[in-house]
Symmetry: C2
Subunit: 448 residues, 2 copies
């Protein structure tokens, strides 16, 4: 931490003095991911100056690591010739991601400046949806014919110097379709005159370009893969997805789930515009207020009961808290279980039954605890008993709702993560107040 | 989905008929990770029967994929000789994880049954904390001397058939210390008489065995690694961490954060005991109730105000919801930003200032919205105005609290994820009610 902080101070000093020489010295020591972090912490004007001091290679590596909102701001400050130089020497998937952050017009201008071969490749990649296998693949792979010998393949690999992180080569049949895979270890230990056909593994795991990235990540995890070939509908090899892309996917999907859970709607952490952030968060806040108004209308129905015993209103926060927490706990476990595959449609009933038992036990414990406090506070253990019963029912209801709603959402093809956030809390607030006030009115109606 | 469901039905049928032959047929079609999923959905007795029908290889692969609580139940049903056979042919890190799920006594008995060499290896691995680099490393790596030639290394790799997923070899100097790395691609393209010393990359990224797994994951992400050597204090090579271990770490850390956020305290999704789950969730629920009691005490202070205008209590849910949602949104973004490294100690002030501006804007919008509804409902726009002001202040307060608390927790060496759960919600409930009732009392005190 302190280390990065000192790098940050040195960089800031050099930028403020416009001292490109000092900057160059710092670049040499510092990995590009660290550099990207530091740049995100600089002021907008300082960031663009940094890029004028980079070499094209450095600029590319660092730019690819920078988060989208900050990247857009920097891209706006770089001119087209420089940007096209930077893109040409980046891996194709990184180059396409950056092009995707430009206006269509500017992206076309830059593609025209880039050498014909590279720009055609990039245009092909731009066709695929950002969250599909095609959208995250790169073109830096090695494909060989099944007729090749091990010696041929070694020659091919020698020629393909640009391909970094090469761990497997993929094998094509006579129709140029993917038909096998070979690890570099296989190539190393076999003698150089052996035919690829005879030593390849024909059981190659691949995906179609249109496959959703989350499903691709699932395959990587299931089979512990480091890379995976991407094919089109006819089985032609299109590109390669590598393990580091998958880690990005896992983290992005997690951020998406967290967004749904808290209602921040896909707002990147590095976003710097107050109004953009406000706009991303307001829908949930307004929805929450409307839910609260419904709760107010519910409470209003019990005005007579409340007028008799005002103290009942003191416990609204407890009742709402119990319902909200129980519902969130149940929903989180179910949603995570669905995401990891531990909970599937196979065992809905088993899970719901388990959650109901847990809610029953917790309802009794929490109900008793709350009832005793209320009974002691008002020296009225009859009131305490009724509150205890209400508390237990509120928890039972929230536990069941919290675990059932994610399944219902999934049936309706809505992301179940939605169930873990303000949605379930608001619903349980309203149901909880109904149970609490309804029960109290029922029991106290005659007594008072 | 339907596919796995049909496999599940076939397996269940075969298990219920005790038809081991039919089971063997299904095994051949089905990857071990899928098999593990299906087994988690079976009844306890059925699970153990499955393992008697597996070969030792199948049993090992499947057992390693099964979640801890279910794994423990199965381990209890397998006898020691079978278990020691299973462990011997598993990768060392998987074998150690399974041993860690046994009682110490049983683990020692089984280590005695296992061949001397393997058991000494496993005992060495058992020394390291489960969440450290040493705890997640395996021993299946290839190390060579800097004096070796490329040809020597190829011979060594040929001999080490057990090492799967081999992408790099690590180079040791004359003191057996780690001094370089070579990719298999380097080995393939260099001629066989070249010395390793001359072609290796001396800048090898490694970790010490005691390093926390989360920091190891950070290094993998930063440098896009597929594997990483683990060394002891003197620089001796101890083991290897592979990319699939890191994906597990990322998902485990995420589950830990979610546990803290929702108060389910490290309860595995596959846990089946009602009482264990209840016990894991109760601490948060009880804490929440105590927070709610504090809120009740706060409300009690404003009894006179409430007696005058009972309707003020109708809006407790709205006020609490606004505070809770705003606080959770701000805290989630800050906590995620800390986890991904996008927010660091460098830019605390900048972030807090940004969150304050956002809370200010959202406070005005939400306050106005709520104030208009209240004004319209009670045909009292003066009341609406006061509620609007209270709502705006509640949001401003929660936004600032929600974004500041994670930093405070981190300063105190407490996991900041704690700030995104019931903790911040309860705190904001209490503060929000104080602001709302305090402000109303102040303004309405004379008017009523």
């Amino acid at each position: 931490m302190t280390d990065k902080k000192s790098v940050f101070k040195r960089i800031r000093g050099a930028v403020q003095n416009h001292d490109a020489g000092a900057l160059a010295g710092i670049f040499d020591e510092c990995p590009s991911a660290d550099m990207a972090d530091v740049i995100e912490h600089l002021e907008p004007g300082e960031r663009v100056f940094m890029f004028t001091a980079f070499t094209v290679e450095q600029a590319g590596k660092v730019l690819a690591e920078i988060e989208s909102p900050v990247q857009k701001q920097i891209l706006a400050g770089l001119d087209n010739p420089l940007l096209s130089d930077i893109l040409q020497q980046l891996p194709s998937d990184d180059a396409v991601d950056i092009l995707g952050n430009l206006s269509e017009e500017r992206s076309e201008d830059i593609l025209e400046m880039i050498g014909r071969n590279v720009s055609r490749e990039l245009e092909n990649l731009l066709k695929y949806g950002k969250e599909t296998a095609g959208g995250i693949m790169d073109l830096e792979f090695v494909a060989v014919s099944e007729d090749n010998t091990v010696g041929d393949v070694v020659t091919i690999i020698r020629e393909k110097k640009k391909v970094k992180n090469l761990y497997h080569v993929w094998v094509l049949d006579h129709q140029d379709k993917l038909c096998g895979v070979l690890s570099l270890k296989d190539l190393l230990v076999e003698s150089s005159d052996r035919r690829i056909r005879d030593i390849m593994n024909p059981e190659v795991i691949f995906v179609h370009a249109q496959k959703d990235q989350e499903e691709v990540a699932g395959l990587f995890k299931k089979h512990d893969l480091v890379n995976m070939p991407v094919v089109d509908d006819s089985g032609q090899l299109l590109g390669r997805i590598t393990h580091d892309d998958i880690i990005d996917v896992i983290e992005k999907e997690l951020d998406e789930d967290l967004s749904l859970m808290t209602g921040v709607m896909g707002q990147p952490i590095a976003e710097e515009s107050t109004l953009k952030i406000s706009r991303a968060r307001l829908p949930w806040l307004i929805t929450g207020i409307m839910g609260g108004i419904v709760a107010a209308v519910v409470i209003n129905q019990f005005e007579t009961t409340l007028e008799k015993i005002l103290a009942l209103s003191f416990f609204f926060p407890v009742i709402m808290g119990m319902g909200g927490n129980t519902g969130t706990q149940a929903a989180t476990i179910v949603v995570r279980g669905m995401a990891t595959g531990d909970i599937s449609l196979i065992n809905i009933k088993k899970r719901l039954w388990l959650e109901m038992r847990v809610a029953f036990v917790n309802g009794i414990v929490c109900g008793l605890f709350l009832g005793l406090i209320v009974g002691f506070w008002f020296s009225d253990y009859a009131l305490g008993g009724i509150v205890a019963l209400a508390g237990a029912l509120v928890i039972l209801n929230s536990g069941v709702t919290g675990s059932a709603v994610p399944f219902v959402l999934r049936k309706c093809n809505i992301d179940p993560a939605l169930a873990t956030g303000p949605f379930i809390t608001t619903l349980n607030d309203i149901l909880g107040l109904l149970i609490y006030l309804g029960l109290l009115t029922l029991f106290l109606g005659e007594a008072v």
